[in-house]
Subunit: 307 residues, 2 copies
């Protein structure tokens, strides 16, 4: 079990900023202080070689970054802020696995530093299989309570952050979790529901609607289309909005606000990441899209589903 021990020694040399009475790597569990009456939010996501990335095509740092980033995106979806992360590695046996472990840790730790999310611990294992990386992130609400998928009402405006589509061309590795944006949104308007877009709007919006017990109508002409979606469109022959609607791994926020606040949200928004109204929640349970000509069609899930 040399790799595990060597990696623990490496970790012991890594400096991370923890609050004074917290305890990170080295004991049976990590310890964190918690404020009175604060909610704890916790999420976990695993990525594995050949399913979520190809080891030959990415750096270990990119793998570590992505494994943490998808979890930070879940914390952002709750409009919370991260407190710390646990990183669990399943390493392929072999001479390069220590370097692989270090690289993954570096990628995660560097992103974690940017987002105030130190690596508190984890578990390292080598085995005769392929690489998998599992990350758990703990978070809390700076204000209010966690934003849920339930809570959207008919009439609420549907918004997204950023631009959508074509993340496979690169953004799925380098995206920025929308922690700051989510907290800012919470400050300036009454969010009613939210989630992050991991499988594409056409799959994720129905999930939010189901939880909230409402229907929805989105207008494809309003979708904020990424340059990558336009680029994809040239090879696939599908319109750019199709990619914005159906491509997975955008990791942007999908959220709803009361109709009366939609305009003031736009007016008050000063962050670099844009927010765009793409439709309206509807009574009932059905989901529709308005196509390029304004024709109303049922919204069908056509993206790639992770879960």
């Amino acid at each position: 079990m040399l790799v595990e021990q060597a990696f623990l020694k490496y970790l012991a040399t890594q400096q991370q900023t923890l609050s004074p009475d917290s305890i990170g790597i080295g004991d049976d569990a990590a310890v964190l202080s918690w404020q009175a009456d604060q909610k704890l939010v916790v999420c976990t996501d695993l990525i594995s070689d050949e399913t979520d990335f190809h080891l030959a095509d990415v750096t270990p740092q990119q793998i570590g970054r992505k494994a943490l980033a998808i979890n930070l995106s879940d914390i952002a979806a709750m409009a919370c802020e991260p407190v710390g992360a646990l990183v669990t590695l399943l390493l392929p046996q072999g001479e390069t696995s220590l370097d692989l472990a270090k690289g993954i840790y570096e990628g995660a730790a560097q992103l974690g530093q940017t987002y105030g999310c130190p690596i508190l611990g984890g578990d390292t294992n080598s085995w005769p299989g392929k690489l998998a990386v599992s990350v758990t992130v703990l978070g809390r609400c700076p204000v209010g309570t966690p934003l849920l998928r339930s809570g959207a009402q008919p009439g609420d405006a549907i918004f997204v952050t950023g631009t959508l589509g074509g993340s496979i061309l690169g953004d799925h590795i380098s995206f920025h979790p929308r922690i700051r944006e989510a907290i800012r949104l919470r400050e300036i308007c009454g969010l009613t529901a939210g989630m992050d877009i991991s499988d594409g709007i056409s799959i994720d919006l129905p999930r939010l609607c189901e939880r909230s017990g409402v229907g929805a109508e989105i207008d494809v002409r309003l979708l904020p289309i990424s340059d990558a979606a336009r680029q994809m469109s040239q090879t696939t022959g599908k319109p750019p909005w199709w990619h914005a609607l159906n491509d997975g791994e955008d990791f942007e926020l999908l959220f709803t606000v009361p109709a009366a606040e939609a305009d003031s949200l736009q007016a008050q928004w000063t962050e670099a990441t844009r927010v765009t109204k793409i439709g309206t929640m509807q009574p009932g349970t059905k989901l529709y899209l308005l196509d390029e000509s304004g024709q109303r069609l049922p919204l069908k899930p056509e993206g790639f589903s992770h879960k």
Copy 2:
């Protein structure tokens, strides 16, 4: 991604007891209430096919139980109590993987129920590799602060719970995490340091000593020897105490108390799980054992190291 979705549907049918304002499976993250000024402890451990178990030799329920139990043992090592768990599955692709997922979940959920540790969420993935199960457990201190590996002083008595050795004959699958015992110990004496025995005393005690900056002397004649260690001894030809000292996966507690409290601890102890004094912390950094004839020898790590 049929397995993941079918498993989520199965999970939605499972009833678990959460506190009224907590949120479990179904949103982007789980949400828990936290009391004022309570410490949060969090640990994670992964087990995988062919490394920690052989899929052909155990039931899915046993795998799920063990994956949670080793984490509960870490929570016990901190003298804390569990609050909830996240279960992440890497499932081999194939027709049986949904049944496998359900069985693992059942095994974990059933043990969790016994220990007041509901399954709050997780992540389910199928892939072309073998089975791996990663569990994260959150816990808190019912009283005081988490028990650490550091804190032992020269002169402190070294104790263990239960009996040791030969867990490979079955106990490594069916062991009982010592949550209740750890909390009871905390109530009746001043624990100075503690951890759980995962790799065997000869490997784990040096870890505790290093953290505490002390040496130790244990007397092999005092080791509480399990029936399984005696059984192992008959095939290996090694003395039963050798198995008690070096075999891994006992998942008993190893802890230290001030010398003055050692006798009163024994006197007040009424739990079914025995506690046994096996030695004394020493000045310096060296570790010794007294052998069967009372001869003092250096303690050498001979067990199987996990980490």
